[in-house]
């Protein structure tokens, strides 16, 4: 057991740090939940991609560096420490890309991945439906066979960044007669500007159109945009929510940087006599370190050839609760400035509030932890 990085890893860190120091934009970009911000972030992603920093863990042929999991963690630490912008392509990179690596054809990979890496095509995830959230397998949108492809109909919702995105990926019911709800589903990619698609942006708590609902009326999708085998969509979708995602969805770098910022703010604005706030600032530092070390332990297991399954639910519950606590502390610390909609912690707070809801609610994650990690009996839901 050790915490020592190799000379090679240190060199990788130094290279990333130097690149970022020279190129991270001065001052924050406009919010990526606005049209203007979306454009600015695309530009940033293109700049990252030009020097192969946008998707370091991908193979070189698709624009990556073939980085292993430790290098990826190192890069993310440097990325957030440098104050670099949030990633507008994150849904594609974190959710669609791993699915494509595992289940797509070479042709699909060659067609989809490079433009995802550069931010030229931004992807949205179209899984949830108005009646199908936690019980995703009950989804009703359909894919109906047509010559050369499929016709998609129905409604998807809460699709992050779909207000300004280009394409989407989702699961659709292709066999309404299948005996179980999670059978007879097909995983497809489609164009958000195709005929038959209506995108209606939805304002989140702060009014920004951070997600959208999608109305689909016989939208044609060619066969080449089916991922994996038709009818096997559920298994394909689930296979990418487990293993790596627990590590990839939120890297510790983000929280280390945020906790460091909070501690600096505390030194500037904090009242040393107010030990209640001081303790919460300390907890933010401790939580970031705990998450970093927990992730390193998982990465070590991963590197040793073990798989990370239901353990990723521990991750999800931890970082989502942690993120809210950190931001609440920051807002309290800022006093009346904490209330300002354009304050330095405001957008992060709104974003953090959604953590326990998306990517499978924390209630669902706790069920998974209890049943799969602690072996408790399944109960009525």
């Amino acid at each position: 057991m050790d915490l020592d990085f190799s000379a090679e890893q240190d060199a990788f860190r130094a290279e990333a740090r130097a690149w970022l120091a020279a190129r991270v934009p001065e001052g924050p970009l406009p919010s990526l939940e606005t049209e203007e911000g979306f454009a600015a972030h695309r530009e940033w992603e293109a700049r990252l991609a030009a020097d192969r920093w946008s998707v370091v863990s991908w193979p070189e042929e698709y624009g990556g560096r073939g980085a292993d999991i430790f290098q990826w963690l190192i890069f993310e630490e440097e990325y957030f420490a440098a104050g670099a912008p949030g990633r507008v392509s994150q849904n594609g990179i974190n959710l669609l890309a791993p699915t494509l690596f595992d289940h797509a054809t070479d042709e699909q990979r060659a067609r989809v991945l490079p433009s995802m890496a550069t931010g030229e095509v931004v992807w949205a995830q179209a899984w949830s439906e108005p009646e199908s959230g936690s019980d995703l397998a009950s989804l009703r949108s359909t894919a109906v066979r047509t010559p050369g492809g499929w016709l998609l109909s129905g409604q998807k919702t809460w699709s992050s960044r779909a207000a300004f995105a280009d394409r989407a990926f989702g699961i659709f019911r292709s066999d309404p007669d299948a005996d179980r709800p999670h059978r007879g589903l097909t995983y497809l990619m489609f164009d958000l500007r195709a005929p038959g698609v209506t995108v209606r942006p939805i304002g989140r708590l702060d009014g920004k159109p951070a997600f959208a609902e999608l109305f689909l009326d016989e939208v044609f999708v060619p066969d080449e945009d089916v991922i994996g085998e038709a009818g096997r969509g559920w298994r394909i979708a689930m296979s990418t929510t487990g293993n790596e995602r627990g590590l990839m969805l939120r890297s510790p770098g983000r929280f280390l940087a945020a906790a460091g910022r909070l501690a600096r703010d505390w030194r500037t604005y904090g009242d040393p006599a107010d030990t209640a706030v001081r303790d919460r600032v300390a907890d933010a530092l401790i939580g970031a370190r705990a998450y970093q070390l927990f992730t390193w332990a998982n990465a070590s297991r991963f590197a040793a050839g073990e798989t990370i399954g239901a353990e990723s639910s521990l991750n999800k519950v931890f970082w989502s609760e942690y993120d809210i606590a950190l931001h609440e502390t920051a807002l309290e610390l800022m006093g009346s400035d904490g209330e300002l909609a354009d304050g330095k912690w405001a957008e992060g707070y709104v974003f953090a509030l959604a953590g326990p809801i998306y990517a499978g609610t924390n209630e669902i994650q706790r069920d998974i932890i209890a049943e799969r990690l602690l072996g408790l009996p399944k109960g009525r839901r």
């Binding site: 057991m1 332990a297 990465a299 209890a370 072996g375 009525r380």
Partner: protein, 318 residues
């Protein structure tokens, strides 16, 4: 970078676990509580034979240490089995005594071999198990050694026998140890208490999980109720994120890391105790059930050798 226990370290934990399981530690705890040290000394001897104390003693004094990760592995097992006795204090005393060549020569070989059970306390605090110990080492501006004994104060955990350290000014023999050794001893005590607390938390969770699988109400195991499941899931989250802090602190030995490990493991174990008590219902509130042997430790271990507030202050100092 490989932040995972090695095969040897996991095997070491397993063999200690097997040894302590066969030692019937609940009976040992109950004897210790009543002042009967016999069974506890027998466990002490076996723990020493397994090499635990040697991990805290450098080779030149007949040990194999200092090996903080292995010590953490061992103290987690001691916590998991609720083993009574001044284990943390003896190991921390070894760290203190290593700072003086004369004292090291006198004490460390005996500590390494398990022949010396000693205790350690802050000036003005309580010495744990001073009635069983051969000497009481006192930390403070003027580190000293006192003869064992004093008046017993009853702890909320009856297996922790407390004795007030109230030397008349200047009493006891002053110890020629540098300040750095005092600091290192405190940090060792803090780290190993954290490891012990983690083990206590793990034991409380494991016992509660097996209880809720077999206790039936409303015609179904209570472990199938979501309110029960979710509390246990949160307990596991708490322990699983305290664990890497404890091992990380053993590796880095940085003061802030040790303090972070202490507060987090202490609070995770305390929360595990609250959940264990609640989910066992009234039976959890009794001293007959062995669960109580672990439950009573969570408060004292959370606060011993670094209270939560003090630890958080240390973390912010960096």
């Amino acid at each position: 970078m490989r932040f995972l226990l090695t095969r040897e370290q996991s095997d070491f934990a397993r063999s200690l676990d097997a040894m302590l399981t066969s030692a019937d530690t609940p009976a040992v705890v109950r004897a210790w509580e009543s002042g009967d040290h016999g069974p506890g000394r027998e466990v002490w001897r076996r723990v020493a034979e397994a090499g635990v104390f040697a991990l805290a003693v450098p080779e030149e004094h007949e040990g194999v240490g200092l090996l903080p990760v292995e010590l953490v592995v061992a103290f987690r097992e001691l916590g998991r089995h609720a083993v009574p006795g001044p284990y943390v204090e003896t190991v921390a005393a070894a760290v203190l005594l290593a700072g003086s060549p004369g004292l090291a020569k006198e004490w460390l070989p005996r500590i390494a071999a398990g022949r010396a059970m000693v205790t350690l306390a802050e000036e003005g605090g309580y010495a744990l198990d001073a009635d069983a110990a051969e000497a009481v080492f006192v930390l403070g501006a003027r580190p000293a050694v006192l003869p064992p004994g004093g008046a017993l104060r009853v702890s909320s955990d009856a297996a922790r026998r407390l004795f007030a350290v109230t030397p008349a000014a200047g009493a006891g023999e002053a110890l020629p140890v540098p300040v750095a050794s005092v600091v290192a001893a405190r940090e060792s005590a803090m780290l190993l208490t954290a490891a012990q607390a983690l083990g206590v938390g793990d034991a409380l969770l494991a016992r509660t999980v097996s209880y809720v699988k077999q206790r039936t109400q409303f015609g179904t195991p209570i472990g199938s109720f979501q309110a029960v499941k979710h509390r246990l899931a949160d307990t596991l989250v708490g322990l699983e994120f305290a664990r890497p802090l404890v091992y990380g602190a053993a590796l880095s030995r940085a003061g802030a890391d040790v303090a972070a490990a202490k507060v987090t493991a202490g609070e995770a174990a305390y929360a595990a105790g609250r959940t264990a008590l609640q989910l066992h219902g009234a039976v959890g509130y009794t001293q007959e059930l062995d669960l109580s042997l672990w439950l009573r430790k969570t408060g004292p271990l959370r606060d011993a050798w670094g209270r939560p507030g003090d630890c958080r202050g240390r973390v912010l100092e960096g």
